[in-house]
Symmetry: C4
Subunit: 268 residues, 4 copies
């Protein structure tokens, strides 16, 4: 019986076969629409299959519109959904195509559909990834203040080094302004090193060497912060198989122990 | 007495002198054939020694063919070997040369022999590297779910950032399509930074800076995951003060234990 | 009543609302002056708003001069302030503008104001970042000797590899001198890889590969040093299973304790 | 009394003022000679000061020759010194200059003097760096087998990926041979990314993305190995202030405990 309540369950939950199937079909559709948008950006493919891509996009948009209306109709709190992150993303995912009937060049915005892929998180959360995602998330949350401090320090170094390099190298060697020099300093400090701008003067190369060694060494700081946080959170190995002693209630009996190491009672 | 059983032992095991010698000779042959394939790809060397390389390759292929037939004949389960990973690799390692008698341009495939080098793992496993390889392998296996989540997040960032950069910079600055922009985003996020495509607009350079700082910071996540896993697996500190049991010689009595957990004898 | 003592409190402390407001206004002014200096370095913006930027800079300098005089007047130890790090930075932040009335091309020095942004540390220190900053600072201080040793080793590798590459590749392939080769070695070892200078000979490419693998592997050393230091400083694991004492409410009773270590009461 | 024994002490030891002074003067001379060699490689400086550099080099060589003869004369085991690492380095440091009187273009070899800088290790070892150097050295030694396994895996990936890219991109896109492709694979996997060779085909860019993500992720492995090793070696924080209980001899009384947590006895 597909009454409204059952339908709402299918759309909003994913804890039985049908609702799970709905989520997976939806994910495939989103993935398909994103793929079409990506392929459509390749000129040679657009020239050949542009028409097909256009109709596919219309099809996806039609299905997503039905889904959007369904969600508003089924939810008990429509305004809360509409103003939520996923509500806005869902609207933005269909709007550009409708706008493109009246205004040119809005279709590019349909790539915003990529954000809908984040719905995958909901399904993943129900599987074995839940604990792992929580582990990573908690570790990063606990490290947040330290990471902010680190980023603030990095940006200060970038500001000072960018300015210094602008003074040393100057516009004639590609360091056309302080913002560009700061961009170069980030490229260098993060060890990306595009090479679109490079120091040419001996002093500039010396300063660049200092920035590079700095960037090479301070990568240790965020790594250390997150690792220490994760190591702290780990389940200690030997606690994983613990049993209590039936005689003295000592709680540290490990897998493989034959006798309690506190009172000497035999373990079954 | 080189009967079939002894021969099978030599070919498939590597726990005595002769079988070990067989493995080492085989490895030298594989290494030699790979080296010839590599050198053969250098045009100047091919011009001069092309003929020699060709005969060497025929020689190696002949020996590897004998080895392949030997393995099928000696094993008690020939079909299992033929359909196994190494069985397929062994076949692919000799097939291209035979094909090249009839079809042109197949010799390149002989580089697949490089995969045969993985046989080295079998020999390494028997030495002191066994425990170490297990340690690294177990740590990575235990981190697999977390690493998958991390890669999924990275690919989402790459998809969104690639699209954003395609919109900002556009084909006129080298970001010719979303796939190319995504390639650039990976180049930037992983701090590789080839510099074949670089942002030219101020907004593009700003977004690139964000991606670079992101890539610089989130390297901490996989590092943290693997390190925490490895630190967890390390010999726990309290094993360092171990004593042996005077009764059963069990060597795992820890600081603070009152009874041997293997035989129940009181510890002094 | 804004007497001298109260004013000194406002300027030098930041533990009540008014003194905090003073610090925040000061930070906004510093941030504004730095932004103007940055924007002024962009030729197109300078052409259009150069005059505005000039008057803004005069205004900022005027306010900073008042602040500088105020600080000297209010402090009980004026010479100590003048010769302190922030005293010198404060002076250097206003001097260039006054000098520019007499000498040309000194305004660039006003970017030294960026250093004044470090005052933000004082305000941050009072908030939740204090403990975190101490944590990072202490970890780095404790790692200092090890990091120095690491940098010394890196510089030795750079010196030797730079020389070797100069001999192998030579001036005709861009390695014009040993200092330039050492710059290239740093670019390569730190995995920055600008690509402004690249090896062209097979031997040079082989040596470059060695340097790259070395740089890729030894990044583990500073990371390991800092991480081990940070992990050591983390709240020890056994505090996680704490119970409170029923008698004295001491909250640090660990798993396995039989008596409260503060009041000696037996733990159940 | 500068007898032979005292002189030998000054030259070979560095545990009193005079012998320490000798070592420091020697280090300054080595550093000076290396600096001259470096500056001499810069064409513009050589043009101007070439003559001065030449005489300085002669002077340094003269002093190093005296030192070399002194070391042979003073040591009780001259052959052992001559055939030792530093003995060979000391000889190679002076030989090129003498050879240059007869043969041209040998002076470049004088950069081998850089290796003499390693003598600094001897002096450092006596100071506060001894324990730190041992800590890093021991951690790396304990990780050696794991790091070797890691490097072997990396080289296998490089071999396979280099070959695959050579097949995909081919000589027309800069991947002129398998060795060159392997060089490119190392440049990419280690996230150096010179950009001298870059993939142009979509398939090549896809494979490059895979290599980059691989290189970005597996950096976690050596880092994890070394960090876990270093964390294992750390002095645990709470063991630093431990006392034993006077009554029950429990060895875990921490700073700040008032009562033994095992037997409840008051701690003084």
């Amino acid at each position: 019986m597909l009454d409204k309540k059952r339908l709402a369950h299918i759309v909003f939950e994913s804890n039985d076969r049908v609702s799970r199937l709905f989520d997976i079909v939806l994910l495939i559709l989103i993935f398909g629409s994103v793929t079409v948008a990506i392929l459509d950006s390749v000129q040679s493919l657009k020239d050949e299959y542009g028409q097909t891509f256009y109709y596919l996009e219309l099809g996806f948009t039609f299905l997503f519109t039905i889904e959007y209306i369904l969600r508003i109709w089924l939810t008990t709190k429509p305004y809360k959904y509409i103003s939520s992150f996923f509500g806005i993303v869902d609207l933005l995912a269909i709007l550009p195509v409708y706008l493109s009937f009246f205004v040119a060049n809005t279709q590019l915005l349909s790539v915003i559909r990529a954000l809908r892929l984040l719905r995958i998180v909901r399904i993943l959360k129900l599987g074995r990834y839940l604990a792992e995602a929580d582990f990573i998330g908690d570790s990063l949350k606990a490290s947040a203040a330290k990471i902010q401090l680190f980023l603030f320090s990095v940006l200060t170094i970038v500001l000072i080094m960018g300015t210094v390099m602008f003074v040393i190298e100057g516009p004639e060697h590609g360091f056309t302004s302080i913002p560009v020099s700061m961009y170069w300093a980030i490229v260098t400090l993060t060890t990306v090193g595009f090479g679109d701008i490079t120091p040419s003067t001996p002093l500039g190369q010396f300063m660049a060497s200092v920035i590079m060694l700095l960037g090479y060494a301070i990568i240790a700081v965020p790594t250390g912060i997150v690792t220490a946080e994760m190591a702290k959170r780990k389940t200690p190995r030997h606690y994983e198989f613990l049993k209590s002693c039936t005689h003295c209630s000592f709680e540290g009996i490990e897998l493989g122990d034959s006798y309690c190491r506190k009172c000497g009672t035999k373990v079954d």
